[in-house]
Every structure is written in structure tokens, then in C-alpha cells.
Amino acid sequence: MSLRQKLLLLFSLTVAAAVAAVAWTVLVRIRHVFEIRDQEETALFVSQFQREFQHRSAEVAAAVDHLAASERARAMAFELAQSGDVAAYLTEAQSMAQDAQLDFLEIVGADGKIVSSAQWPARFGYAEPAAANASTTPFLKREELPDGSTALGLFAVHAVGGTEVRLIGGERLDQSFLADLPVAPGMQIGLYSDANSLTTTVNFSTGASTPALTAFDPPRLLGPSGAVPAAIQYKSLIDAARTSGQQVNGIVNPTGRREDSLNATAIPLKNEQGNVMAVLVVAISRSGMVEAQQHIRAIAYGVAAGGILLAVLCSLWIAARVSRPIEQLAHAAEEVAGGNWDVRVPPRGRDEVSVLARSFNHMTEQLQSQRDRLVQSERVAAWRELARRLAHELKNPLFPLQLTVENLVRALELPEAEFDEVFRESTATLATEIANLKTIIGRFSDFSKMPKPELERIDASEVVWRVALLHFPNLVRKGGRSVEKSTNDEKIQCSVEFSLDPMPLDADPELLHRALSNLVLNAMDAMPDGGVLTISAHPKGETVELRVADTGRGMTPEECERLFTPYYTTKQHGTGLGLAIVQSVVADHAGTIAVESPPGCGATFIITLPRSAA
């Protein structure tokens, strides 16, 4: 990743994080404010609804009160007190309930037994406990019905005149009751009524009994128009109200969509003993709030996205502005590393980057100057070395030449026969030494005019085998990977190893042969007392590795370091050009050469050449 990309990423992330943090804070705050307002609104609606519920309770009480105060009821109470004959009033409760539009009405005699019942006419003569616990305030009661079911009702009790006869009237808490209640737009109401809202669990070890909540039954949650859809969603709320006996608020999501969610309040309805008989659920739609929130959120997201986009563009500009000089510096540094020391960076401004640019330019100028001086000094040194080597090489044959010529001059004074013999010997010596001079000059000439390699597809094993056979003709190839060891003069043993896998090379076979031969000759020279010469070729990844190893005395690290320097040699009569030629050949084949020489373990030359595609 480039510096510009890093800067861009850093700036963008920083700005995006800042924008996101601001947007998130704003959204959270707005949501909080909306929810508080929503809860306040819900509480207001619930309060209004509870007042309406109480109003309906008061209406029931008033209806019963009105009935009890009627002349008809008074006459009935008087007759009951006088005659005690209840048979005449068997259907009286039905008639009175119809007149008063009450769902439930029971006339209870002074003995606490039912005289007449509108909801269950056959119950006459049975005791009605509610009459004994009568109070003027309305109360909830679960009423048994003839079909075996029960119904929850809002009841009120009132004595008729000054008698002990009581009227217990009530209104059924059912769908029609809910339908009559005024509801605000977006408000939903439901009534969860369970025949046995609480069962009792007895601990037989302690004897204690605790009320246990009956399982929530979704069909029992009724709204004004029947069963409430997705009633199971209200389970936790209703169960909490049933368990705690307290009003419970919560958010219900019937469809899973947030805009359909409801702010619900579960209001437990209790009887006079404080037992929860039913749970009234008042739910206010949150769609308005959710839509407003979504609208604000969309705007916030839009602003944030715009801000981030703008920030990215600004970051792009800033990053480009900041990174351009550095990129130029980096590019210039690459150029310098590539050998182009003439490159310069234009300095702009007065900041640190411009200082760096100026320093870079100064540095390249210094480097260029030093390189020129170094080249000059190296050139001088090379000439000196060459002169020294030439002088050394030429001085050896020149000395015999000089002696021979001086012998010839002195031989002029010898008799003719002796002179002839001296002359023949001197000319032979002169010819030999001149040949030596020619050889020396030929080596220098060869090094100076190294031919350009003519590449062709060869296998490394062929080159290795050819070089080995040249120096060790008795080698016998056996098997695939290796050959038998062979000796040339019974002092040096040769071992050749190469892989059976193809090791194709694009190389000049003659040059490569020459390089390997040089290495083999060096190795043989390194083992004057005999040893083992190992030549190997193995594929190594995308390259082919050729190794020439000896078991001679090895080399010191300093020798290893200077080994490939031209005209450097450790031999008494070496020119110092052999390894330089080898390195030149290897370099011409895009390969590398290295040497390993652990102390006392001989030396190993490693040529690594790129492997050709098969």
C-alpha cells in the first residue's frame, strides 16, 4: 500500500469515524427523546383509558343502584320479607337485567341465597358469597355460567331499600365491552382473561402452598373484534402483570417490523382479594414515532454519507499534496538505486519534505562525485594491478631470455662447435620462453574478449557429465542419480551426482563447459595430496544448482571474499583470471556463483542458473 493510499485511508477513517460518532450520538439522543415522549403519550392514553374504565365501573354501580331504588325492587323485597315465597320471582332477575341493560343480575335474599338469577336462572336457592362481601364500589368477579364456562364481569352490589335483599348486577368484560370503550386512533385494547389465572402449588415437604401462574393461552387474549393477532407476543408482558400484580409497560412487536411495534401497557384487574382476574392490555402504535425516527435517521445517514464522501475527496487532495514530494523522492531514490545518479528532486516550499529533497539532491551530487573519484582510483588500481601482474608474469620468462641472450653473447667467444651447441640450446630456451610469453598474453587476451553466449536448450546433467568425463575418462555411469567414483591418477577420486529429473537450461554449452572446467581444475589444484571431487547438478525450485566440491584445505573468509576479483590468485603461478572468467560466464547466463568453505572441510562452488520452462 502506497503512502498516498495510507494517508487517504487514515484521513478517511478518521473523518468517517468522527462523522459516524456524531451521527450515532445524534440518533441515540433523538431516539431517547422520542421514546420519552412516546412513553409520556402512552401513559396519558393509559390514564385516560383507566378513567374511562372507572367510569364504566361507576355506570354499572349506578345501574344497580338505580335498580335497587326502583319501586319494583322495593315491592319485591317487601313481598319476599313478608311471604318468603321466592317462586314468584324466578324470572324477575332476567326481566330487570333486560330493563337495566345489565349482563348479570342476581337477586339475593336475606339468607344470602339466590332468589333469581339472570345469567343462570337455575341457580336459585344457592348461596351467593359475593352478597356477603358486598361493598358499594364495583369489583371484578368471575361468574359461572350454565354451559360450564365462566365469564369475567364488573359487578356492583346494592341492598334494596332498607332490607337485606341485595341486587348483584354486572357487566360482562368481553369483546362487546371492549368495543364500547372509546379508543384513540392507533390505540389497541385487549383483555386477557383466564378461567384459572392462578393455580396453587403445594410443597408437600413444607406444606406451604404458593400460587403458580397458569400457562399463557394466546386465544384468551381478546380484542374488540375477536382474538388479538400475534397474541403470543404479549405473553411476557401479560405474565409479568399477572405475576407482579402491577402495571407493566413494554414494547410489543407483532409482525417483526419496527413500524408495527406497539407501546403496550398491561393493567392487572384484581378482585377484592387482590387476585389478578384478568389483564387489560392497552397498546399504542409506535408507527408515527418510528416513521419520524426513520426519517431523521435517513437524513442523518444522508448527511453522514455526504460528509464522508466530501472527507474522502478532501483526504484524497491532501494525501496527494502531502505524498507527491515524498513519492518524487522515493522515485528518485529508486532511480539512484538503479544506477541513475543524475536524477534530481525539485524542492518546493520550506517544509521538512523540501529540506529532505534538497538533502537528497545534495546527497546524489556527493555520491556522483565520490563514484567518479572511486572509479578513477579503481581504474588506477586496476592498471597498477595489471601492470604488476604483467610485470610479474613477464619478468619470469624475461629472465631466462636475458640469461640465454647473455650466454649467446658469451658463446661468440667459444669455438664454433661449442657455439653451435650453445646456440641450439639457447634458441630452444628462447623459443620455450617466448611460447610462455605468448601463453600469458593469450590468457589476458581471452579475458579481454569474452565471447557473448549463444544460448541453446541443454540439460545440466549433460554439461556436468561432459566436464567430468574430460577430466576423469574412467568414470562409469551407473544407475540414474550417481556414477561410480573414479580416479585420474589414483590420488583424486571423482563423484558425479545429478538428478534424473530434467534440468533444462538456456545456456551456451561451451562457455558453461569452460566455466565448470575452470572450477574442476581449481578443485584438483586444491588437492595436491589427493581427495574427493564431487560434481553435482540438482533442480532447486525454479533454478538448477551446480556444485563443484573438493576436500582440500579450504579457504579463509578473506580469500573467499576476494576470490572473484580479477587477477587475484592464491596460486604461485596463477593469473587470477580463472574465477573471474567463471563469474563472467555465470553472470552472462543470469545466474549467481557462491562459495562455501567451512574451515578444514574443503571448498564448494555453487552455480545457480535459472531453469528453463520445459
Binding site: 317462586a87 337455575a122 336459585f124 336457592g125 344457592y126 350454565p146 354451559d147 360450564g148
Partner: protein, 354 residues
């Protein structure tokens, strides 16, 4: 009218549980065949269940509607209004009334209103409404008990155990039915035939014994039972009261309409108490209840034993003997009630008519 017409009428009237195995006409004679003696056959034939309607005229044609053989003959039926006219050729002689118009499906209160304004001369008064009719100063004639309100208990299924049926019998509060629902009309009874007919009805205890009922039931908890009742509100109310009684004794009973529960565990029914002959009345009653118990003899001991044996099965629990009552208009003279509690219109006349 000939023997073949009578056979046809009898076969039409009795399709199942007949007193006889077969009946056929031999000339002008009817031949009844039965596997057992039929000492009560004449009395049974005299009952309303076997009324003979003329289904074929003298010329051999089959009339569109039965025209009757009694003092009145069928004339027309239109929109629930049945018109009968005096039968000039009745063997009893021509009745005083020329025509009778019977309006069906009319609420009791409307009947009484018609009576009070002179639009009707006779109106029905159910026993439970008798007290109210008297409070409204209607002239009411009341028959002796002519119907038995009884609880039929299935002896199969959940109530196959006779002890449970006995517990049901003990748990019933007849007093509440009599005093409140039927407004103290009729008689509380635990026997099939009324006291006035047999003289031994008091020997069957009619008191409720809830403790005994619970004791009999023991720890047994039968599955929910169904009590079928006929559709009229009073019978339904009585059934609900019985269900309450039974609930106190540990039975879970649901009341259903008889049409909707043909195979209910319990059924509240009104059975006819016809005729002055106790043996024939008992046989008629048992046949109406679907029982086929031969009546051994006519002496009270045999009758008591037969009735006792039936009641011991606890498949039929008598509750109340109910009368029939009629409110009559001021114009009606000489109206008498027959043995089955129905008005004998053949003997009645209207004041101011010829």
C-alpha cells in the same frame, strides 16, 4: 271406515315398541299377534297414541288429509291455523260447536291476550304459568296429573354402573323443581304412577339425600355427562337445575338440547299418564319411555312390584306429576277435561250461539 283402514292407522301410529307383534285385518275383524299376553290392549287402544284416523274414504279414495272419525273433522290447515268442523255423522252425535279454529305456535302471553279480548275461547296454561294466570284472574281448569316429568338415565357407557345411577337419583332436589320452576303445580313423586291412581306412590321416597349420593358415588369420578332436555324453556331450566344438583353430588353435567344430543347420558322427558287403568297407564308410560317391561297383573301388589322393579334399575327417575291447565273464556259452557287433561270440546258449548 273398515278394518283395513284401522290396520293402516294403527301401523302408522305405532312404528316401534308396539304392544303387539303384528296386526292384520280379517274381514271386518282385527287380529293382533303377540309373543306375550296383552291384558291391557283395550285400554292401550283407547289411548291417544292409537287414535284411528280415516285415511281412506268410503268410496275407496285416499283423501289428501286425514279427516278424522271423532266429533270434529279436519277441514283445512293454513299458516299454522287448523280448522275443524263438526262431524255430522259422528257416532256420539253431532257436537254443539260448529267449528274449531286452532292457532299454533302462539306465545302463551298472546294466547291469554286473545282470550281476554275475546279473540279466543280456550288458551293453554303451562303448569309453571298457572299461578300467573290466576293472578291475572283468568278462569282456569286444571286436570289431575297427566304427565310425568322424569329423568331417563342411560344404563350404558359412563352410567353403566347402577350405583352411580342410584347416586344420581339421590342427588335430585325435587322440591326446588316443584316449588320454584313449576310454581308448586303438580305433585312431587318418586313413583311412576301418581298417588291418585295407585295409592302407593308415597312408598317411594322422594327426598333428596346428598350425603347418600356422595356415599354411593364413593371415589368414582365419572366423565362429563350430557343431559338432554326438550326445547321448551321450562324443561331446559329444570334440566339446568338438575345439572346443578348433580354437580353438588360430584357429577359434571352439561345440558344440551334433545335434538342435538340424541344419545345423551341423561334425558329429561315428559311421559304421558293416560287412562284410569293403572296397569295400562304404566305400560303406556314405560313404552313411551322406551322400556318394554311386561306388566304382570292388575292387582296393586303386582303393580307395585313391577313399578319397583323398574325403578330399582334407576334408568327412569320420576320427578314430578304435572297437570294440564286451560284458561277458558267467559262464553264457554260445560267444558270438561278428559282423562289425558285435554279439553273435551265435543261436550262444550258457547254462550250466545245456537
Amino acid at each position: 271406515m273398515n278394518a283395513a283402514a284401522v290396520v293402516m292407522a294403527l301401523n302408522t301410529a305405532c312404528t316401534a315398541n308396539c304392544p303387539w307383534t303384528a296386526v292384520r285385518a280379517v274381514g271386518s275383524t282385527l287380529v293382533f299377534t303377540s309373543d306375550s299376553p296383552m291384558p291391557n290392549l283395550p285400554a292401550l287402544l283407547a289411548g291417544d297414541a292409537y287414535l284411528i284416523a280415516l285415511t281412506r274414504s268410503a268410496d275407496g279414495q285416499t283423501p289428501a288429509n286425514p279427516i278424522g272419525t271423532g266429533p270434529f273433522q279436519f277441514t283445512s290447515s293454513n299458516n299454522g291455523v287448523l280448522t275443524l268442523t263438526a262431524n255430522e255423522g259422528c257416532w256420539q252425535g253431532r257436537p254443539f260447536l260448529d267449528e274449531i279454529v286452532i292457532t299454533g305456535n302462539r306465545p302463551i302471553r298472546d294466547q291469554w291476550l286473545d282470550l281476554s279480548v275475546g279473540h279466543a275461547d280456550i288458551a293453554q296454561v303451562p303448569p309453571q304459568e298457572l299461578r300467573q294466570a290466576q293472578q291475572q284472574h283468568l278462569a282456569v281448569v286444571v286436570s289431575p296429573p297427566v304427565e310425568l316429568l322424569a329423568l331417563e338415565v342411560s344404563d350404558t357407557g359412563a352410567l353403566g354402573n347402577a350405583v352411580l345411577r342410584a347416586a344420581i337419583a339421590e342427588s335430585i332436589d325435587r322440591g326446588a323443581l316443584f316449588n320454584v320452576i313449576f310454581q308448586k303445580q303438580g305433585e312431587i313423586t318418586a313413583s311412576l304412577l301418581p298417588q291418585s291412581l295407585t295409592g302407593y306412590a308415597f312408598l317411594f321416597p322422594a327426598d333428596r339425600d346428598l350425603n347418600k349420593a356422595n356415599e354411593l358415588r364413593g371415589g368414582l369420578t365419572p366423565p362429563p355427562l350430557t343431559l338432554a332436555a326438550e326445547g321448551d324453556p321450562t324443561t331446559q331450566l329444570a334440566a339446568q337445575r338438575l345439572a346443578l344438583n348433580l354437580r353438588e353430588a360430584g357429577f359434571n353435567v352439561q345440558v344440551a338440547n334433545a335434538h342435538n344430543a340424541p344419545h345423551a347420558d341423561l334425558a329429561l322427558r315428559k311421559l304421558p299418564l293416560e287412562g284410569a287403568d293403572p296397569a295400562a297407564a304404566l305400560e303406556t308410560l314405560l313404552r313411551s319411555a322406551g322400556e318394554n317391561v311386561p306388566v304382570a297383573g292388575r292387582n296393586p301388589n303386582a303393580l307395585f312390584r313391577a313399578e319397583h322393579d323398574v325403578l330399582d334399575l334407576k334408568t327412569l327417575i320420576p320427578l314430578l306429576d304435572l297437570p294440564r291447565a286451560w284458561a277458558i273464556g267467559s262464553r264457554v259452557r260445560d267444558l270438561r277435561l278428559r282423562a289425558d287433561g285435554t279439553p273435551d270440546l265435543a261436550s262444550a258449548s258457547l254462550e250466545g250461539t245456537q
